[in-house]
Symmetry: C2
Subunit: 340 residues, 2 copies
């Protein structure tokens, strides 16, 4: 029996209900932070709409938790619109989210660069405009692994999305205008680059079997967050070798000035133990030092995942005073919380 | 090829170095919170010893991250002594930790009930006493799955350990005496029960292959955090059925008074996606409601893990005003952080 044919076991009832049931759990666990709109399948900030504040809406296929629903709350998102697993939400969902959180100061759509997300958010933004809500769309396309992937024209949006939602959320919380929040969000995307590696595939609940077939000694170098192909498939190497090449690709493309401060984000894709993520962080610091960079901020853990995929992505964001201050600002969401 | 013979892929250099390299990463990512004592293999609170404060020390085998090193910092542990993966630290490590953090008000040893941990912490406590440091040991044995398991006489210590470290840490931070901190810690253990289920095994880095063999449609019901056998091996059931039985066992043993407030803790064992953990939380709330219990606090995520094991444990802690207040108190550690 090939690995790809073997069923991946999950804690599941009817696979069709996984998103609804999981949202119900999110709402039940964090009633002080979020409320669930089951009709439109949305996670809404408990106190939305916040009058006079620019509102932030994101969304995309489920299966990347805590992204995006786990980032709804003070100092981050006002709403998340989750689709079915690895499936874009529909424009009606995004429109409903936009209307639910608009506090009169306009709404930011944070869109990861996947064809379905881009198209559906565009339709929702147009409809919102027709209803008199000003919308600015911000695209993330930070993944330097490949151009024009399975679901994407251009580069894919991955880890930078998490950092952008935090930083733009802080800017909105601080009273930034729609243009100011959009500008700082775009700055985060411009100053960040990511790269991912998978040791195993993942399985959608509906399929039950691995999305792609990876040999018992192979890894996918440059994988996307839905298991899209990367640069090449190859034998697993040492963590030191893997991180060296990931760093080289990221820093080669980002080309930060020597002496820069950066936020170093080591993200687990779902099935990789934290002991390994910190080992990877340790390898990463060596390459940052070699380039004269200082990681003045860090984030290590599972924040943008691919179900149970064993794998890791690294995101490097070049910081300045503004971004650092916004990163440090209070945040209180199910998955990211400090000073609140 | 049987599943058990297949190598589990990991981000790794020399397997012997995984703990040291991971600790180096933890220290590099959180220099504001912790420092690493590489000679004694310890994670120390950055500002330890805190004069006049009761100090909290825990430890045990590695492979359960973020437990314990991720819980070192303000309002939680003063030191963690990690052994090799799934191997107890040695008494000298625990003694060195105890001496490093003693601020003159005594030291609490938080010990999960595994034979090696119990024996080695006992020796360390005796040596510390000989050197004039007052030590109180607190044992966790909250796992109701089995009595007398592979590495344990009596019940195993699992999820309650996380809650105990947070709550006792807050009591120490608030100026509690050694006896007071020990008392509240014991209360947490007394008022908490846990139960775990595994869908897959895990593999230690040294072995590289799964610790135990679990068929492609099987689960281990009542698993321990090292893959120790539970109550039985059986076919995977629906999440609703699994959680119903887990809840029944936990609540049957804990027997909380109707109307009680509880902290409901759904813990991923390392390889289970967050979307499934929240689905489980949703199932759990139904059983709490049936018993007239209210989950006024929650914790959902990977906090005490078994490397990459796909599985979940549930811990229920009966709250009172004191425990609730201590749970809410500021905490600032790599893995748990709020209001600080």
């Amino acid at each position: 029996m090939s690995v790809a044919q073997q069923t991946v076991k999950k804690f599941l009832n009817d696979p069709e209900d996984i998103v609804t049931e999981s949202l119900a759990g999110l709402g039940a666990a964090h009633p002080d932070l979020v409320r669930i709109d089951f009709e439109n399948q949305l996670v809404l900030r408990k106190d939305a709409p916040v009058q006079g504040k620019v509102a932030l809406v994101s969304g995309g296929g489920s299966g990347h938790e805590p992204l995006h629903g786990g980032f709804v709350g003070l100092g981050m998102l006002d709403a998340a619109a989750p689709g079915a697993v690895f499936t874009s939400p529909v424009p009606d969902q995004m429109l409903a989210a936009t209307k639910a959180v608009d506090g009169g100061a306009g709404v930011i759509h944070i869109v990861k660069n996947y064809t379905g997300d881009v198209m559906n958010f565009k339709l929702a933004a147009e409809e919102a405009a027709d209803e008199g809500i000003e919308v600015e769309s911000v695209l993330t396309n930070d993944d330097v692994a490949v151009e024009d992937s399975l679901y994407t024209a251009g580069r894919r949006g991955t880890g930078a999305t998490v950092l952008l939602e935090k930083i733009a959320g802080a800017k909105a919380e601080a009273g930034g205008s729609l243009a100011e929040v959009a500008a700082v969000a775009r700055k985060v995307n411009d100053q960040a680059r990511s790269f991912g590696v998978a040791l195993t595939s993942c399985a959608t609940p509906a399929a039950g079997t691995p999305t792609f077939d990876l040999g018992p000694d192979e890894m996918e170098f440059g994988v996307g967050i839905h298991g899209e192909p990367g640069r090449r498939r190859e034998k697993v190497r040492s963590a030191a070798e893997i991180v060296a090449e990931m760093s080289e690709v990221i820093l080669g493309d980002l080309n930060p000035a020597g002496g820069s401060n950066v936020l170093a984000f080591v993200n687990g894709l779902g099935g990789t133990p934290l002991i390994e993520l910190y080992l990877i962080y340790n390898e990463l610091t060596k390459h940052l030092e070699d380039r004269g960079l200082t990681a003045t901020r860090s984030l290590v853990g599972d924040y943008i995942t691919s179900l149970e995929m064993a794998g890791v992505s690294i995101t490097i964001l070049v910081l300045d005073d503004e971004l650092t201050e916004l990163w440090d600002a209070p945040v209180h969401t199910p998955a990211l919380r400090w000073k609140a």
